[in-house]
Amino acid sequence: MNGHQPVNIIMVEDDEGHARLIERNIRRAGISNTVHHLSDGSSALRFLFEHPEGPVKNGPALVLLDLNLPDMSGTEILARIKSDPALRRTPVVVLTTTDDKVEIQRCYDLGCNVYITKPVNYENFADAIRQLGLFLSVIQIPESEGLG
């Protein structure tokens, strides 16, 4: 529609605690955008592609993606997003406990924009989340989004 449409944050995270901590830190960073929390892969896909408030039908979004989901791997969702013409430009932030180099590499290959390891050192974690605020300010509306 237009550049002023607020960015929705879509958080795909199966751990309630992590979800809560992420949301708190987002709020604490002064980000007031809507956060949609989805706790498994299939509902996340459904929301992304079919939900009226999802990014395909309703404006720009930022995806926070956990790789360890109960029903599928986060990389599968990442691949789906990055291969879809409507969602291709949606920024994806991968958030996971894995710091495995191979997996990080694979995520970047699939087109992930930022990879954040959930550190056990909580302060770092909070910092990383807060920096998402900066990230949100540069997100652009997907060009293919003609009608809105």
């Binding site: 901590l21 360890n68 406990t97 056990v120």
Partner: protein, 520 residues
């Protein structure tokens, strides 16, 4: 790959020895009995042949002697004949001379007389061995001498012209009879020799027969030995072929068993690694929550404390010691413990993750100059060693190996770090690194003069999260476990030689050239 190689090697060992024992059992009885029989038989046969040969030799020598005797007899006979001939000549010459005093007869007579004397001497020499013939010869000699004298006398009479006397003598002196007697004597001697000859011929024939008998016996024996030996050897070869076949079958079985077991072990090991990875990975998730919400709790506690301070200022009567202690001391203490414990847990989980990840890392073998590699590690620790006054020496030359650089570096830097870390206070630290080739493997030793490790803890120090001795240094008990996992991964091993207060030597043994394990 944390523990599999040990177990694989061990199971290879037991399996192998078991199969070998079975093979040995199968081969044992028939094999040894056959060998012993063959050797015994061959020895017996050859002893027999030897005896036969010796007998044949003895018989041969004996036979030769007998042939000699027969020849001797012929010789004697020849001489007797000649003697008789000369006697005839002697008499004929005298007769001729008596009739006609021709000097030619005289010459013939002298010649015959000389030959006679010669033959007499020869015969006497030849018949020394036979007493009967010897007596005959003596008698003959005597008669011949008398005869010669008589004949000589009549010859002289004739030459002097006493023809009548000579003729008288010829008729009366008995020389004719004597000559006849001598001839008869010669005949008797000849008969005696003929008797000897026939006797000797008989014995000679007997020895020849014996000789042939012995030869035949030897031939039969040889044939027997050959046949028996060939039969035994055939049997032995057949037995050998059978055992070889069964050995081959067992060996095939063994290899199959080993490969099956190796595959099982590898699968189990992979499973353990996956398990370790998943567990440690999934354990981090709740840990993030614990730490995160602890921080949240701390934040809330801070809010409460600030509120409490306000109350203290505005409504001090509302506060009592319990509330104050709960907020000021108990809550921060609880949060502190939760934090340190979870941090430690995180370190342990990270260690497991690192070990499991190390097991899955691809090994890239390359040529490593060990002396240079060790010096590199030493340089990186120079600062710390200078600080505590420790010294590190690298004994050159060190063997060159082909292995994974990162893994070898990690092993050696862990060992050297430990050596520097656990020095004996008050004793200047000396760390020596040396290497050598031993039975196709590179052995690298890191020796220190530090506090040492009690022998009962030598196995323990290599276990994950286990430490030994006085705990005055930071650490989680991961380093040596990591070192051992890496050593196994490279197809090597590590052992520790040490006693309390006597320093420690860690001996790393690696294949000179890393050989990748076949993937199951």
């Amino acid at each position: 790959m944390v523990a599999s190689q040990d177990t694989v090697a061990e199971s290879h060992g037991t399996l192998y020895s078991r199969v070998m024992a079975r093979v040995a059992d199968e081969l044992d009885l028939s094999d040894r009995a056959a060998t012993r029989a063959v050797i015994l038989f061959v020895i017996l046969g050859f002893l027999g042949l030897l005896a036969g040969g010796v007998t044949a030799g003895i018989v041969m020598v004996d036979n030769q002697q007998r042939v000699g005797w027969v020849n001797h007899t012929f010789e004697v006979e020849r001489h007797i004949d000649r003697l008789r001939l000369q006697m005839e000549r002697l008499e004929a010459a005298r007769r001729g001379y008596l009739l006609d005093a021709d000097p030619t007869f005289r010459l013939i007579f002298d010649d015959a007389e000389a030959s006679l004397t010669h033959e007499m001497a020869q015969l006497s020499a030849l018949t020394q061995d036979n007493p009967a013939q010897k007596a005959n010869v003596e008698r003959l000699t005597e008669q011949t001498n008398q005869l010669r004298v008589m004949l000589g006398a009549s010859m002289i009479a004739r030459s002097l012209g006493l023809n009548q006397k000579a003729l008288e003598d010829f008729r009366t002196d008995g020389s004719v009879q004597m000559a006849r007697g001598a001839r008869t004597m010669g005949g008797a001697m000849l008969a005696e020799e003929n008797r000897l000859l026939s006797a000797r011929m008989t014995t000679q024939r007997r020895t020849v027969n014996i000789f042939y008998g012995v030869l035949t016996a030897c031939g039969v024996l040889l044939l027997l030995v050959a046949t028996a030996s060939i039969l035994l050897i055939l049997r032995y070869v057949r037995a050998l072929a059978t055992s070889r076949d069964s050995l081959k079958a067992l060996n095939d079985n063994l290899e199959q068993a080993v490969s099956v077991r190796t595959r099982d072990l590898r699968r189990a090991n992979d499973e353990i690694q996956r398990f370790a990875y998943i567990v440690s990975h999934d354990l981090r998730s709740p840990l993030v929550n614990v730490l995160g919400f602890t921080a949240e709790l701390e934040r809330s506690a801070e809010t409460i404390r600030a509120f409490l301070e306000r109350i203290e200022k505005e409504e001090p009567h509302l506060l009592d010691a319990d509330v104050r202690r709960a907020v000021d001391a108990d809550t921060p203490e609880a949060i502190g413990f939760i934090r340190t414990s979870t941090q430690k847990m995180d370190r342990l989980i990270n260690a497991i993750l690192r070990l499991s990840r190390e097991g899955r890392r691809t090994i890239t073998p390359e040529r490593l100059d060990m002396a240079r590699l060790v010096r590199g590690i030493a340089d990186s620790m120079r600062h710390r060693m200078d600080e505590i006054g420790a010294q590190l020496t690298v004994e050159t030359p060190m063997p060159e190996i082909v292995s994974d650089r990162l893994a070898v570096e990690q092993i050696l830097s862990n060992l050297i770090e430990n050596a520097v870390k656990y020095l004996k206070p008050g004793r200047p630290g000396r760390v020596q690194v040396r290497g050598r080739l031993e039975a196709g493997r590179a052995v690298i030793e890191v020796q220190d003069n530090g506090r040492g490790i009690d022998p009962k803890d030598h196995e323990r120090v290599f276990e994950l999260f286990r430490r030994a001795g006085f705990q005055d240094q930071p650490g989680e008990g991961i380093g040596l476990a990591h070192v051992r996992a890496l050593a196994y991964r490279l197809g090597g091993g590590i052992t520790c030689v040490s006693a309390l207060d006597a320093g420690a030597t860690f001996r790393l043994s690696l294949p000179v050239t890393y050989v990748a394990e076949p993937t199951a």
